[in-house]
C-alpha cells in the first residue's frame, strides 16, 4: 500500500466508501464481505488494525451511535434465529455501524499510508477546488497548534479554579471567544507569511509516486473486486453452493 501511487489509493478509497454506503440497510451479509478490503490493506501495509481503533477511539463511538434509535422506529421482524426475532431496526442499526466503521478504517488506511501533501495533490488532480485542498492541508498542520492552545488555556483555567471538573458553563463563552480571537490573530500572521513568500492562491505539492504497471494492476484488480462484491452477494452465492 505504501508504494501505491497516491492518486490510485485515493480513488480506491473513494470507490470503497461509495460502494460501502450504497448497500441496502438490510443487506448485512453483502456488506460483511466489505471488511476484507481494509483488513487486507492493513496487513499489506504492516499496520496493526488495533492502531486504527486506538487512534479513532473518539470518533468510532460517534459513528456507531448513528443508528442507535433505529430499533425503536423499525420493529418489523425480519428473521428469527432460534426463538429470537431480529427486527429491521436492529439489522439497519448494525448495518449503519458497519458502514461507518468500514469507511473510517479505509480512510485511516489512506491517511496512514499517504502523506497529506500527496493526498492534496491527488485531490487537485481530480479537480477538487483548491480552496478545499488548502483548507485540508492547513487544518492538518494547525490542528495540533489549536489543541496545544486549548490545552494551555485549560491548564490556565484549572490552576485558577481548583477542584472544578471541566470548565464551568459561565466561562464557555469567553473561553471559546478567546480561542477564536487567538486563532484569528494567528491566521492573520500566517496569511501575511504566505503573502510574503509569494502565495497566489494555490499550494504547490510535491510530485508523488507515479503509477507503475504493478500499481495499475493492483488498482484495477481491487476496483473490480469491490464492484463484484457490490454486484453479487458473495456470502449468499457461497451458501447456495454448499447448502
Amino acid at each position: 500500500m505504501h508504494r501505491l501511487a497516491p492518486l490510485a489509493k485515493l480513488l480506491l478509497t473513494m470507490l470503497y466508501i461509495l460502494v460501502t454506503v450504497s448497500f441496502n440497510k438490510y443487506d448485512i451479509t453483502g456488506l460483511f464481505v466489505m471488511v476484507l478490503f481494509p483488513v487486507v490493506g492493513y496487513q499489506f501495509s504492516f499496520i496493526p488494525i488495533r492502531t486504527c481503533f486506538y487512534k479513532l477511539r473518539i470518533v468510532m463511538p460517534l459513528v456507531c451511535a448513528v443508528g442507535l434509535f433505529n430499533p425503536f422506529f423499525d420493529k418489523n421482524i425480519l428473521f428469527y434465529v432460534g426463538n429470537i426475532g431480529f427486527s429491521g431496526g436492529v439489522i439497519s442499526m448494525v448495518t449503519l455501524m458497519m458502514k461507518g466503521i468500514f469507511c473510517l478504517m479505509a480512510s485511516f488506511l489512506l491517511v496512514a499510508t499517504t502523506r497529506i501533501e500527496e493526498i492534496c495533490r491527488a485531490l487537485r488532480q481530480l479537480h477538487f477546488p483548491k480552496m478545499l485542498t488548502s483548507l485540508l492541508l492547513l487544518t492538518y498542520r494547525y490542528i495540533s497548534v489549536l489543541l496545544d492552545e486549548v490545552s494551555v488555556m485549560t491548564v490556565a483555567y484549572h490552576l485558577r479554579a481548583p477542584g472544578q471538573k471541566g470548565i464551568h458553563v459561565s466561562a464557555w463563552g469567553s473561553f471559546l471567544g478567546q480561542l477564536i480571537l487567538r486563532s484569528m490573530d494567528r491566521a492573520e500572521n500566517l496569511y501575511d507569511s504566505m503573502l510574503l513568500r509569494g502565495f497566489h492562491g494555490e499550494f504547490t505539492y510535491a510530485e508523488g509516486r507515479n503509477s507503475s504497471r504493478h500499481g495499475a494492476i493492483v488498482f484495477i484488480c481491487c476496483a473490480i473486486l469491490i464492484m463484484l462484491v457490490r454486484l453479487y452477494n458473495l456470502p449468499a452465492i457461497l451458501t447456495s453452493l454448499f447448502i
Binding site: 492541508l137 510574503l196 497566489h200 504547490t204
Partner: protein, 248 residues
Amino acid sequence: MLDFNNVTYSYPGGEPALNGISFHISDGEQIGLIGANGAGKSTLMKAALGLIGVQGTITACGLQMNKQNLSQIRKHLGYVLQNSDNQMFMPTVIEDMIFGPVNYGMSREEAEKVADKTLAQLGMEHLRDRHNHRMSGGEKRMAAIATILAMEPKLMLMDEPSAALDPRNRRILIDMLNQLPVTKIIASHDLDMILETCDRVILINDGQIVADGDTLTVLSNKTLLENNNLELPFCLAGIPMKKRPKMQ
C-alpha cells in the same frame, strides 16, 4: 537597500504608531531595531514589507513601494516572524523551504537544490523531512530562518529571533546570524544579541526615531536607554545580583 521617507501610520482610531519615520539602510548593513513594548518596531517592519498602507514613501531594493510592484519587492525581502508556528504552515520543513522559491517561479527541482544547500550551510540536514509540528522551539526557530534563507533574500527582517530560545540555541542563532551574508534588520529586546550581531542601531519610541547610530555608542548610553524604557545590555551593565538583606 531600504529607504523610509517621512513614513506615518496610525492604527484605526488610535495614536500614530509611526510618526514621520525617515532612515536609509545600505547594502550589507546589520541593523538592530530596539524600543520598548508598543514603540512601533513591529509596525515599522510591517510597513517595510508592505503589509500595511502608510503615508510617506518607502523605497526597497530600488523600487518605490506601491501595490503594483509589491510582489516584485517582496521577492527580495525575507521576514522571520516572532512565532515560528505562524511562519511554517507546510507539513514538513522541506515543503516549507521550497514554498517561497516555487511561488516566485523557480522550478521544484531547483528549489529543492537551493533548500538542500541552505540546510547544509546551516548544518540542519537532519531537519529536512521533519514534520513542523514535531520539532522543538529551537529547531522551529532555526528552520523558520532556513525557510527564509532558501528564498535568497537581499534584505532579512526578523522579529524577536531570540525569543523563547535556550542559551545554547541562542548562541547557535547568533553565530548563524553573523555568518549570513545578507542585509538584516533585527527587532529585539535582547540587547546583548543586538550588540553581538548588529553594527548599527535604530532606537524608536512612540513611533519616532530617538537615536540612530553605531551599536556600541547607542547601547552604552545608559541615560538614553533608560529614558526610553530600556536598560543597558547585561554585558555592559555587569552581572546583575539580587539584593539580599544583610545577614546579622
